[in-house]
């Protein structure tokens, strides 16, 4: 796990008001995830969620729609088709929102580095607060990452969502470059 190195321009002056610090305590201890099974990493989510590792003891739980969720788990490789929907989901989520990238596929393409269908680098398109290494990350690694995310939120370090707002043009340009059209076209196959 490591935090991303920013290679984009703007970062916001960072001061938290007192109420934000209090709010961050609540946000850290109650993380609702949007479990969008984008790839194979989703296979280790059921063990993490269920009785053996029990994610709920950290205050985390699955939520049905992006609007309700706080954290978007990108569980593995993203094909271009999924990426459109991920961006769509990410933009639907309410601030503050966090993103965790699972596995080497989101980090650098992993085993699919030469695939014509999958993207190689997630933080080009949406801001990623945390990466988990591994293919696929074990439940222990996932729990560890959640712990780290909680600590980051408490310290106010998980601010990818601010970064997205500040550098929206940069992100959007990347999205357009890779996807041509970001808007999801639903009727294409009818």
């Amino acid at each position: 796990m490591f935090n991303i190195v920013e290679d984009t321009q703007k970062t916001r002056e960072d001061t938290r008001k007192t109420w934000e610090k209090i709010a961050d305590y609540f946000r850290a201890n109650s993380i609702w995830m949007k479990w969008y099974c984008t790839g194979c990493g989703a296979m280790e989510m059921p063990p993490t969620m269920t009785s053996r590792f029990d994610m709920e003891q950290l205050g985390m739980g699955p939520m049905a729609t992006p609007r309700q969720a706080d954290v978007l788990l990108i569980t593995g490789y993203l094909s271009a088709k999924t990426l459109r929907r991920v961006i769509y989901s990410y933009e639907q989520m309410q601030d503050p929102k966090y993103v965790i990238g699972f596995g080497s596929c989101t980090l650098n393409g992993g085993i699919y580095f030469d695939s014509y269908a999958t993207m190689t680098r997630l933080d080009h398109y949406i801001p990623v607060d945390l990466y988990i290494a591994g293919c696929m990350p074990r439940p222990e690694a996932i729990m560890n990452a959640f712990d780290t995310l909680i600590a980051m939120i408490k310290k106010g370090e998980a601010k990818g969502w601010k970064h997205y707002q500040d550098n929206y043009e940069w992100y959007n340009a990347n999205q357009i470059h890779s996807l041509k059209e970001v808007r999801v076209k639903d009727e294409f196959h009818e």
Binding site: R27, N29, E56, Q57, G59, T65, R67, Q94, D95
Partner: protein, 303 residues
């Protein structure tokens, strides 16, 4: 009604919130044990609600915003009428009909707001929720009418007082077991627990009415849900379990009933909405009719 009443009423709301939210939290722990895991901390539900309230949220038009506020206001207003054991914020106003009508305001606000979000899943959820309401309300009301006929009163504290005279044997669940059973099944429907939770089924309609709610709106919805649960469980405690001579007795009964319902909910799958309606109109409605007829014709069980 004077200023003191209002202060009492708001105190009662605070009490209701703390009570129900703690019990929800403890219940999450209980269910976790049922599912062989550790579960969250007992105050997790508080954190969840405050967190949701601290987030930003998108509006989907004024009906959406207004509906939530109206629903929350309606439910909170209902909760003010509920007696907690011997304590009453607004004495003399704890009539079942008042509660039923004010509760409907909350439900309608919720339906309005969810439909206002424009998401088809939400509309399906709302229509299912209203269908569900129609299904459980009729058997429940038939039983309640029987009881009103038997006791000549329709106030919650009145029911509680009459039952407390007879000790445990005086409880309506013992005197009128059929009616009690119907009421418990209806309570499961009111609370939106399985098997009657098809209107918020995540695997079917992506959590139905809540689909477009996020941040503050969702926080208000959670608050609303806590108050609504408080009202509904309290109804049953007062009408069928003898209310409470002391606050403690009331709280214990309340917690036990809610936990029982929750455990039942977690070992059952859910009905489809049409099956739920058929079920309510078959078994509980028939039982409720029999119970009311018994009360009216034979007076069986009436003290």
């Amino acid at each position: 009604m004077n200023l003191m009443n209002l202060i009492y009423a708001f105190g009662l709301l605070l009490f209701a919130f703390v009570l129900q939210t703690s019990i929800t939290g403890i219940n999450r722990k209980v269910i976790a044990r049922l599912q062989r895991r550790r579960g969250p901390r007992w105050f997790q539900q508080f954190i969840d609600i405050f967190k949701a309230l601290s987030k930003s949220s998108t509006s989907h038009g004024w009906i959406f915003d207004f509906g939530v506020v109206m629903a929350l206001g309606g439910i909170m207003a209902t909760a003010m009428f509920i007696p907690i054991g011997p304590l009453q914020a607004l004495p003399g106003l704890d009539n079942i009909f008042i509660i039923a009508y004010v509760l409907a305001v909350g439900m309608l606000g919720m339906a309005m707001s969810a439909s206002g979000s424009g998401n088809p899943w939400a509309s399906i959820g709302v229509s299912r929720a209203l269908t569900n309401m129609l299904a459980y309300d009729i058997p429940f009301m038939v039983v309640i009418f029987g009881l009103i006929f038997a006791y000549d009163t329709s106030s919650l504290s009145g029911f509680a007082a009459i039952q407390q005279e007879g000790g445990i044997l005086g409880w309506n669940i013992i005197r009128f077991p059929l009616g009690g059973l119907v009421a418990m099944i209806s309570l499961q429907g009111m609370l939106g627990k399985k098997p009657f939770d098809s209107f918020i089924a995540p695997a079917e309609i992506a959590s139905g009415p809540m689909v477009e709610y996020g941040g503050r709106h969702l926080g208000m919805l959670f608050l609303l849900h806590e108050f609504q649960t408080f009202v509904e469980v309290s109804l049953i405690v007062h009408i069928f379990f003898g209310g409470g001579a002391t606050v403690l007795e009331y709280v214990v009964k309340y917690a036990l009933i809610y936990t029982f319902m929750n455990i039942v909910s977690n070992i059952l799958p859910r009905f489809k909405i049409d099956q739920a309606v058929t079920f309510f109109y078959k078994v509980p409605l028939a039982l409720a009719m029999i119970q009311s007829l018994l009360i009216i014709v034979t007076g069986l069980g009436v003290a």
